[in-house]
């Protein structure tokens, strides 16, 4: 989803502060927002606090998406103005090795493959997306490590959706000056 962003380029202390913020929001705000969404005829509620905004969107109906953990059915939390993962993973990113998402090749049902932490080579299958019974591969964009797999088994995913975050191996001598 275009409005979902993952702050993958933050330092450990920033992340800790972020998580504390998220916890505060999740404990105090999200239940209130969900309740409001339940009673109002709104499709979506968004609030902002500091660097963060929380958007709660009503699940549009029955089906696989109702159970989606990282999309429409649950709050989407993102830092305001955070760059998208693709941008964050630009080769020139000074904070660390290159990170890029492996994308879904089609619209269909997600089937897990490798777990987070698995080493992959460029073109390796990370997972598959089932298009009416045909399994299409989600492949690693380069050699590296799978940091995170976003969907759960059985989730519906769309074409081009970010499926897994892959971090490139340590830069070579050639690439070192970029970092």
């Amino acid at each position: 989803m275009p409005d979902q962003q993952r702050p993958s380029d933050r330092t450990a202390s920033q992340r800790a502060a972020d998580h504390a913020g998220i916890d505060r929001l999740a404990d105090a705000l999200v239940p209130a927002l969900v309740a409001k969404l339940g009673t109002a005829s709104l499709g979506e509620v968004e609030i902002r606090e500091g660097d963060w905004h929380v958007r709660v969107r009503r699940p549009a109906g029955a089906g696989a998406r109702r159970d989606r953990p990282h999309r429409a059915a649950l709050p989407i939390v993102a830092p305001s103005g955070a760059s998208s993962p693709a941008q964050a993973a630009a080769p020139g990113n000074p904070t660390g090795p290159r990170q890029e998402a492996a994308l879904s090749p089609t619209v269909g049902m997600f089937k897990p493959g490798v777990l987070a932490g698995t080493r992959v080579r460029s073109g390796d299958r990370i997972a598959t997306v089932d298009l009416l019974g045909i399994a299409l591969d989600v492949v690693a964009p380069f050699d590296g490590v799978v940091l995170e797999v976003y969907p759960q088994a059985g989730d519906g995913v769309e074409y081009g959706e970010e499926i897994a975050l892959v971090q490139a191996d340590a830069p070579t001598a050639d690439g070192a000056e970029e970092g």
Binding site: G61, A64, L132, Y159
Partner: protein, 455 residues
């Protein structure tokens, strides 16, 4: 029952279907290609799902992607709009096989009405007059023999075709022999089927079509006719109703014959029967369109009946809910297709960012469009930006309202055909109601534009 529809189309018709869903209390999911991520239907839908890249063959024309999108978003029906998969009986069958409702005729009906040549025979048997024509053409000798029987000039038409694609007019046997292999390869490339047939070419004809709606229980009505004689290269650009070419009695008779024939032939859901009307007022059936059409708002303005909602209700198995006596034809309506194309330069299609858009309003004015200020017109699809429809109690007032609305309509950043529509409303053949399908091509858009400038 239908409670959540996947809209498998783009542009203004995706938005039109979304509006019908909202009216009916049905949730709408828009399936979009990467090129339409920022289009209005994608932004306004209850949910939107990307089904593929800009290339329509991998998105809007991909039956597996569309059906898969409907399944993962929990939809129970698919609306195909027009074009793309809308009249594909194999697609409709696959939709049904996945437990979903296809918003349109059932697959077996689409199949029965798929071949133009067979449909002409079927509906002729149920009382519709048809243009003298041939069966499917065999080898060259047989084609020449058929052409001699039909009478020159003849139109060579692909059996699987639509939208005027691949049609050629020839005036002699020599021309026909030369063009046959070209027509075959064009038809094969465009439709995957190189079957051809011939039709007598009517030199100065009008295009008049009858809108019908037939429910699952065989109850059918007509919703009168539309005149689509203003065309460039067989593409309609302006439609109106009632047809200025026909008498009230002639219109009624044609519409009643049309609905009788399709009900008898087992048609189901909304559809349009296209006729050519010659200079003497004789109507000849040419083809049926088994889908909602671009120009359907003309009929909605005259009858007050929501055709897309009717289409959805019929597909859901509901009875029509109204009878012929409820279908009134009040006043006069004109639709202007606003295309991103340059009429002064051979209708060259345009793309780019709409820098500014001002849409017209006022009594009897409707504007159906997916465009907005800042919208990027993608270069991958047809050039239709929107449709301006005006209604008034009489044709004269409708033309006046059309002029006023076209003067208010501002589209900056992309070249459009708005100037041509303004010119048409000043042109005598249009004002006198005697526009024929070949007039714009014969005279040339530039001549109409120049005449309007001279005032």
């Amino acid at each position: 029952m239908v409670s959540r529809i996947l809209i498998a189309n783009r542009g203004e018709i995706a938005l039109r279907i979304l509006r019908a869903c909202r009216t009916l209390g049905i949730e709408a999911v828009v399936a979009y290609s990467e090129a339409d991520r920022a289009s209005l239907p994608t932004l306004l839908a209850d949910e939107a799902i990307c089904i593929g890249p800009a290339d329509a063959r991998r998105s809007y024309l991909s039956a597996p992607a569309v059906i898969s999108a409907a399944l993962v978003t929990g939809c129970d029906a698919i609306h195909p709009g027009y074009g793309f998969l809308s009249e594909d009986d194999a697609f409709a069958d696959a939709v049904r096989a996945h437990g979903l409702t296809f918003i349109g005729p059932p697959s077996q009906v689409l199949e029965r009405f798929a071949s133009k040549e067979e449909v002409r025979r079927l509906l002729a048997a149920h009382g519709l007059p048809t243009i003298p024509g041939s069966g499917l053409l065999g080898d060259e000798a047989q084609a020449l023999e058929e052409a001699g029987r039909v009478g020159y000039p003849v139109l060579v038409k692909p059996s699987a075709g639509g939208g005027g694609k691949g049609m050629r007019m020839v005036r002699s046997a020599r021309e026909l022999a030369a063009i046959l292999p070209i027509c075959r390869s064009e038809a094969r490339a465009a439709f995957g089927d190189d079957s051809l047939y011939l039709e007598r070419w009517l030199e100065d004809n009008r295009h008049v079509e009858v809108q019908v709606a037939v429910d699952h229980y065989g109850q059918g009505v007509h919703l009168w006719e539309r005149d689509c004689s203003v065309q460039r290269r067989h593409q309609k650009i302006l439609e109106e109703s009632p047809s200025p070419a026909m008498t009230p009695a002639g219109r009624r008779e044609l519409a009643e014959r049309a609905v009788r024939a399709v009900v008898a032939a087992g048609y189901e859901n909304v559809g349009t029967l296209e006729f050519l009307v010659d200079a003497d007022g004789n109507a000849y059936f040419i083809e049926i369109n088994c889908r909602i059409q671009v120009e359907h708002p003309v009929t909605e303005m005259l009858t007050g009946i929501d055709l897309v909602a009717t289409q959805i209700r019929i597909a859901a198995g509901e009875p029509l809910g109204f009878t012929q006596a409820d279908v009134h034809q009040d006043g006069h309506a004109i639709e202007f297709r606003i295309n991103a194309e340059d009429p002064a330069h051979d209708f060259r299609p345009g793309a780019g960012t709409i820098e500014r858009l001002n849409t017209p309003g006022g009594p009897g004015v409707r504007f159906d469009s997916h465009a907005y200020s800042g919208y990027d017109v993608p270069p991958y699809y047809d050039s239709l930006l929107g449709k301006l429809i005006v209604w008034a109690p009489t044709r004269e007032v409708a033309i006046a309202r059309g002029k006023a609305a076209l003067a208010e309509l501002v589209v900056e950043g992309v070249t459009t055909n708005i100037a041509l529509h303004r010119a048409l409303l000043e042109a005598e053949p249009f004002l006198e109601g005697r526009f024929t399908t070949n007039l714009l091509d014969r005279v040339g858009a530039a001549a109409f534009l120049a005449a309007a400038e001279r005032g």
